[in-house]
């Protein structure tokens, strides 16, 4: 079943038509990268009293259903979860199964990201237990949304944008369900120990601070105090024990293997050499590279170049992996500032090494704050599904318009001093450089360099980088020239995908304005 929608559209500052209203709320169209200013005060959660919580600190309840009942679960509420378990999450599905048994309808799920393991939630979307999802949509849920089957519009936000939306009151969380690998019965929790340890609970921080009610779910109850308390029990209403909250084998990101593709390795090597040759790689510099085969290979190449030149970084921004941990332990960086750990080496290091620091979207990404450190990072290496000749990029949809994956920290990272997209020049005959990106996720003025296996294009707006790279043996080429070469190889430009005029999701910019729309795909 698809649900046809009539919505009023407005053309935003990026020239993209966007709905004026999303899920019953007026929206602000994107006006420019740094144009919109917020007004008013932060949202505020209700005031609670110790009189209503047990003096012995024991907030344990027998099961999720009881906890939801005590939280006053009813129709139309917003329930949040975090995505730290990635594809190994064992909490979100039983959570909404419980809600279904309790007979509630029209819930909104507000995860920090969804994964293919959440496919069973489709039955709750079909039955009306869930009304819609605001959070990254990929795999089966992405297809469901793209087919126009969801009752409300999907809302895709960056990690920083999610924090901003909670803080600003754009999204009010009624009940936050925070799965924690270690917790005490008071609700203090962290993710550093236990069978499902994953490092940092950073993505649940805003939920714990702003939700009306907070439930901690754990499979590893420890006596008070559970320290360090990444989540403080003072924000927590109830604690529930479950047998298992996450599958360790799947918590480990599937993208922590270094690529073996010769072309990807070539791209990774060129990125590392670019950072060196442009003079970015010097003592005290910083960089970010996440998981994903090419980014990992980049870190390994850069490590060799840093060793060769005797250069030490001040900090590396993770998603951390064993490769970054090695750099920390070999003295190639003073700190890792880590948003999430992608493997168990990262977890171990964060637990044992005070220089491996857990961060949250507040410190690293939130745009409605008094600065964040994303803009201090000297170079960041990101991926994209498409980029146009003005350096605008798409990371959320496939070229046919299907919602493919979430924004993650991608938009927030664009504020780095040098934003590099490391992309193959074509995938399965389909050129990555396009006349127009299918879904605008990142404005070109923030994207400085596109590295493909056929050469490196520098945004003409960055004359400083063009000057800095002079004399390098790297293949620096205008983006149009790479574009023309790939088109010739692929037998012409691809026919543009035919998109419908029916919105299924919106893409938010970091300031809460609407940057673009995802349309229903037949």
């Amino acid at each position: 079943m698809t649900r046809a929608r009539k919505v009023d559209l407005i053309t935003n500052g990026a020239g993209r038509p966007v709905p004026v209203e999303v899920n019953g709320k007026r929206t602000r169209p994107f006006a420019g990268v740094e144009v919109a200013r917020p007004e008013g005060r932060h949202a505020s959660p209700p005031i609670r009293s110790c009189a209503d919580y047990p003096d012995d600190g024991n907030k344990l309840l027998p099961d999720l259903e009881t906890a939801l009942e005590r939280c006053g679960l009813r129709d139309g509420m917003t329930i949040s979860t975090h995505h730290h378990f990635r594809n190994g999450d064992l909490v979100a599905v039983p959570l909404f199964d419980a809600a279904a048994r309790m007979g509630v309808k029209n819930l909104m799920w507000f995860p920090s990201a969804a994964f293919p393991c959440h496919e069973p939630l489709i039955k709750h979307l079909d039955s009306g237990v869930l009304h819609h999802i605001e959070g990254s949509l990929n795999g089966p849920l992405g297809d469901y949304c793209s087919a126009g089957k969801m009752s409300g519009l999907g809302v895709l936000r960056s990690h920083g944008g999610r924090f901003q939306a909670i803080q600003d009151g754009e999204v009010h969380i009624d009940i936050a369900v925070i799965a924690a690998p270690a917790a005490d019965s008071f609700g203090n929790a962290n993710a550093l120990t236990g069978p499902a340890a994953f490092g940092s609970l950073g993505f649940a921080l805003a939920d714990s601070l702003w939700a009306d009610r907070v439930i901690i779910v754990t499979d590893n109850l420890v006596p008070f105090p559970c320290v360090p308390w990444q989540i403080q029990g003072n924000h927590v209403d109830h604690v529930v024990q479950m047998d298992r909250i996450g599958d360790p084998a799947l918590i480990i990101s599937g993208t922590t293997q270094i690529t073996r593709s010769p072309d990807r390795l070539l791209i990774a090597e060129m990125v590392a050499r670019f950072i060196r040759d442009a003079g970015i790689m010097k003592n005290g510099f910083s960089f970010q590279a996440g998981a994903g085969g090419t980014a990992l290979a980049f870190a390994v190449y850069l490590k060799e170049l840093m060793k060769e030149a005797g250069v030490k970084a001040r900090f590396i921004r993770g998603g951390s992996t064993k490769y970054l941990v090695e750099m920390l332990e070999q003295g190639l960086t003073d700190y890792i500032l880590d948003g999430q750990t992608f493997d168990l080496e990262g977890v171990r290091s964060m637990r044992d090494n005070p220089r491996h620091v857990a961060t949250s979207p507040l410190t690293s990404y939130n745009y409605h704050g008094k600065g964040n450190f994303a803009s201090q990072v000297d170079a960041v290496v990101l991926g994209a599904t498409e980029v146009d000749v003005s350096f605008n990029a798409n990371v959320v949809s496939h070229s046919d318009g299907r919602v493919l994956h979430g924004i993650g920290g991608w938009q927030n990272c664009l504020f780095s001093k040098c934003t590099i997209l490391a992309v193959p020049s074509f995938r399965d005959r389909l050129p990555v450089i396009r006349d127009r990106v299918t879904t605008l996720t990142g404005p070109g003025e923030l994207i400085d360099v596109v590295v493909t296996e056929r050469g490196i294009a520098i945004n003409p707006k960055r004359q400083d980088l063009l000057d800095a790279i002079k004399g390098s043996s790297l293949p620096i080429r205008p983006i149009d020239e790479i574009d023309a070469e790939v088109r010739k190889l692929c037998g012409g430009a691809p026919a543009p995908a035919k998109l419908s005029d029916e919105p299924v999701a919106v893409i938010k910019w970091v300031d809460g304005t609407v940057l673009d729309t995802a349309w229903r795909v037949a």
């Binding site: 072309d263 046919d400 005959r429």
Partner: protein, 420 residues
Amino acid sequence: MNTVALVKAAEAGRRGKDVRSDLWVRVAPRQAGGIDLNLESRVALYYGEALRQQIVGVLTRLGVAHATVEVDDAGALPFTVEARVECAVRRALDDTTPGAPIPSPGPAGPERPRSPRARLRRSRLYLPGNEPKFMANAGLHAADGIILDLEDSVAPAEKDSARLLVRYALGGLDFKSAERMVRINQLPLGLSDLNLVVPMAPDLILLPKCESADQVRQVDEHILSIQKTLGLSGEVWIMPILESPLGIQRAHEIGSSSPRIVALTIGLEDYTAELGVTRTVGGAESLWARQALVNAARAAGLQPIDSVYSDVADAEGLRRSALEARSFGFEGKGCIHPAQIRIINEAFAPTAKEIDWALRVVAAFEDARKRGLGVVSLGTKMIDAPVVHRAERTVRAAAALGLLPAPSDRAAADEGRRDP
């Protein structure tokens, strides 16, 4: 234009979940009604129409007016589409005379600058001739040469399809500055390979398991006759691969058998097998053969090129092997993975110390010549003409690789040296 009628159904290419950049096609005879094309493609949304047009275009070019055609495309690039469709048609015609009914060898490739006889041949990357996915970007990895292989990496049943894929890869892909090489099959099969490959103006043909001057002459004459028929000019160089005791024994005779031979190379897997010994890391069992090949190549004025190093994961072993090869007099080595290219290129490039020495020898030689001295000396050492030649070769190689210091630096260095 002649029309041809398909006599049976036939297919070409590969399909399946894990297949990338290839195209599977099945053609079947049809009495009338034109082309009935059933097309499935991973990129149908973007290139469906382009694919359809290209497929019909190939059938028309081959003279097929009526056929039922089924296609499953995994994002094949145009050169692969061309090759696979043509292969299916050829297979559907007659299996006794492969290729015969089709106007052969067909259109020639575009005019392009030819590869000079004397050039760097440090690294040459082997690509399996029937695997399209590695081909499009092969030129980006800075190998001195790309070998499209029709021999060992291609199953006997796919020789015909590989031949066509290599043909259209040569015609349609840009291998950048790499020398475009094809390893044909052992004779006589290799001669049929040439029919389809030579019209696309490859730079060099590798002749495997070469054991006699006569084999080189057959290849040479066949290349020349194809070129003559098609009115093509430009040298197609030949690199015999000596991979048997007999081939090594006749190395000089083979190397001297055609003016189009530029290099001799050695294949150690077959050679050691035929000797009845195991190939070891140290390589003592092939020491004589390698030295004999270097000597024969030099005697015939050719580049001696070493075998491949087969452990892709062992970068250090490869580096040692390449440096040893260089110390024997080899000028290059084969690569079976792009990751090996840089190591090999570096190993066969002159070192800073060697360049410095060579520049000083050349400078001393010129100084002596200007001053009309018969004897060249550098410091307390006298320098013979062959040493000067070796130094000149090093300087030329360094220049080609952009390794020469800037003239001002050189002058400054000279100043420093004169002032003890």
